[in-house]
């Protein structure tokens, strides 16, 4: 039942072009467009708190998309995604500060630069797999972190680097309200980028390498190249996400891009659904909102006097980390296919409710 096509009855495809559409039905396409249209009005009605959350979801979601291409679609592993995210942030600031390249151009350039670095550190992937690859990428994480601390010309060393705001035609997107539009555009653009990649030649090659590498090779797919390229593409997304983050905050410092961040990216795609573009975004939303929901729940409990104020709020930081860990474990046990799969099932339910005809 779930594997059935989501098309309503009577909606037959008459050309291959129509059959290759991103959206399964006109309704879904219309709904998606409408929600993006509605989001455009968000800065006028929502306060800065919600805008900040959306911006966070955008730049982290873009990076998570990239990691899902590597882990979910190609079947490799990386514990260094946080470092690549950081590299993108520094690279974009550096390109802008040192060479005067405008920010709108520095962001994609930082993406390509991070891609090159990603392929450099991903090169062991051509030879090793699984646990060994995990350790190799862990090494990459630490080496790049160390590079941030030492390479003052690039990252400003211990002081960090200033990142100019995103500017277009003399208008600076330096407030939450204005940067919201940059984030929204970037998220839509990169989601389309990933979706199109996955329905063209190299995207299929990634999945082929994951599903059956021996026959992928017989089909003319070079295993070494695609394992490497997958690292490149995933780092490209991380770099774009990181660059957006830098220009949003206005300042980049090395402390944030730790192993913990890499693990968080992994958590996003596991919870959202490995090998699903939608899943990466859903997982990011989940991980970004989880601590917020926790915090407001605790605040509410403290207010109503259910728990004593001091103890819980002090332990908040631990509580957040434990909650993320707990959620990952629960998802692995009860929902191993992630939120994207659950979403599909809900859709299937509504399709047949009450009758499809």
């Amino acid at each position: 039942m779930i594997t059935l096509s989501m098309r309503p009855c009577g909606d037959f495809r008459t050309s291959y072009k129509a059959d290759n559409q991103i959206f399964e039905t006109k309704t879904i396409r219309w709904l998606t467009m409408a929600s993006i249209g509605l989001l455009c009005f968000a800065p006028m009605v929502l306060d800065a708190y919600f805008l900040t959350l959306f911006i966070q979801i955008s730049y982290l979601g873009i990076a998570a998309l990239g990691l899902n291409i590597l882990v979910g679609f190609t079947g490799q592993i990386s514990l260094g995604h946080g470092a690549f995210f950081g590299f993108g942030a520094f690279a974009s600031a550096w390109l802008n500060n040192s060479f005067g390249i405008p920010v709108w151009l520095a962001i994609p350039l930082a993406g390509w630069l991070t891609m090159v670095v990603g392929m450099l550190f991903g090169s062991p992937a051509a030879r090793i797999k699984g646990l060994y690859l995990a350790i190799a990428t862990l090494a990459a994480q630490f080496i790049i972190e160390d590079f941030f601390a030492r390479a003052e010309w690039f990252s400003g060393g211990a002081y960090g680097a200033a990142a100019e705001p995103f500017t277009l035609f003399g208008f600076a997107f330096d407030s939450d309200e204005s940067f919201f539009y940059v984030a929204l555009f970037a998220l839509v653009f990169m989601t389309l980028w990933a979706t199109n990649l996955m329905r063209s030649r190299d995207g299929r090659a990634f999945v082929a390498v994951r599903d059956h590498y021996l026959s992928a090779e017989i089909m003319g797919i070079s295993l070494n190249w695609y394992r490497l390229l997958s690292f490149g593409v995933s780092s490209f997304f991380a770099g774009i996400g990181g660059a957006l983050y830098g220009h949003y905050l206005g300042f980049v410092s090395a402390e944030g891009f730790t192993l913990m961040m890499s693990v968080q990216f992994l958590a996003m795609i596991i919870i959202g659904g490995l090998g699903s573009v939608k899943g990466a975004i859903l997982g990011t939303i989940f991980i970004v909102l989880l601590p917020e929901v926790l915090e407001s729940t605790v605040a509410l409990m403290a207010e109503t006097g259910l728990v004593s104020h001091g103890s819980l709020t002090e332990g908040m930081a631990y509580l957040k980390e434990m909650a993320i860990g707990l959620v990952i474990i629960l998802f692995l046990i009860f929902e191993p296919q992630g939120l994207a799969h659950r979403w599909k099932q809900i859709k299937a339910y509504w399709k047949f409710y009450p009758f499809a005809y």
């Binding site: 594997t3 389309l192 030649r201 190299d202 295993l223």
Partner: protein, 268 residues
């Protein structure tokens, strides 16, 4: 004459540790032929195909395809030269749709890549994909699998999966197609369909076929020539009727005592 030879295997020996999977095997396949390899279990048939497709590299000997030395060439480079194959144990991309599985076969014919593919509408990728989709649909029609084109490959029945695998190999547009037991595990009706497809492939699509098959009826019915392997050695080669009449072959298959085979066994 020599220009008519598409595949030339000469003195190929392949060992795994102490096990000799192939010993000095030579044969050649002409353009347009259906060439079958038969032999008991463990005779080295799959190993032979693996040497041709590049999965294994022989310890000695050479493989030439279209007058080009390919013995040490990587498998993905061989498919570009026009070599396609199916596997004995199903080897589809289980999580992909049937359609995508077959589209993967077009890989080396497609030009869009990681940079142009994402710019789908602006880089000509859409048009290219649609063009190749049409070619894939032709194969889907030919193999009569249009009703399952959107199904996930891993969920199909055995017989259908074999058929999709054949479709994927055809999508490569190979000049030589290697089929490893294309009818294993099929019922009589499915076997007849498959035999018909292989013949059409050969006659109408102009592909040269090298096939491993256990069903003697099928082998004798559709092959131009047959080679027999036993314990890694070639024990006979010839027209189907010659093979049927060959004593060694009958004994190898019926498990009767055979001096030559005993000697071979002793020497291994």
């Amino acid at each position: 004459m020599s220009s008519n030879i598409l595949l030339d295997v000469s003195k190929v020996t392949l060992t795994f540790g102490g096990v000799k999977a192939l010993t000095d095997v030579s044969f050649s396949v002409n353009k347009g032929e259906v060439f079958s390899i038969i032999g008991p279990n463990g005779a080295g048939k799959t190993s032979m195909l693996n040497c041709i497709s590049g999965r294994y590299q022989p310890n000695s000997g050479s493989v030439r395809f279209k007058d080009q030395e390919i013995t040490r060439l990587k498998p993905d480079k061989r498919s570009v030269l026009g070599l396609g194959r199916t596997f004995q144990n199903l080897a589809l991309f289980g999580h992909m749709s049937v359609l995508d599985n077959i589209m993967v076969g077009r890989h080396h014919l497609l030009k869009n890549n990681f940079a142009t593919g994402p710019l789908y509408w602006f880089s000509g990728t859409q048009n290219e994909e649609i063009k190749h989709r049409a070619a894939v649909e032709e194969i889907i029609d030919f193999l009569e699998i249009s009703h399952i084109r959107k199904k996930q490959a891993g969920t199909l029945s055995y017989g259908l999966r074999k058929r999709v695998e054949l479709a994927r190999a055809i999508a490569l547009k190979p000049d030589l197609i290697l089929l490893d037991e294309p009818m294993a595990g099929m019922n009589q009706e499915e076997k007849e369909d498959m035999a018909r497809f292989i013949l059409d492939l050969n006659e109408e699509w102009g592909m040269t076929v090298v096939m491993i098959e256990h069903d003697m009826g099928v082998v004798m019915g559709i092959s131009n020539r047959v080679m027999v392997l036993d314990f890694g050695c070639k024990i006979a080669e010839g027209l189907p009727e010659e093979i049927m009449a060959n004593d060694h072959v009958r004994k190898a298959y019926l498990g009767e005592e055979d001096e030559m085979l005993e000697q071979l066994e002793a020497s291994l």
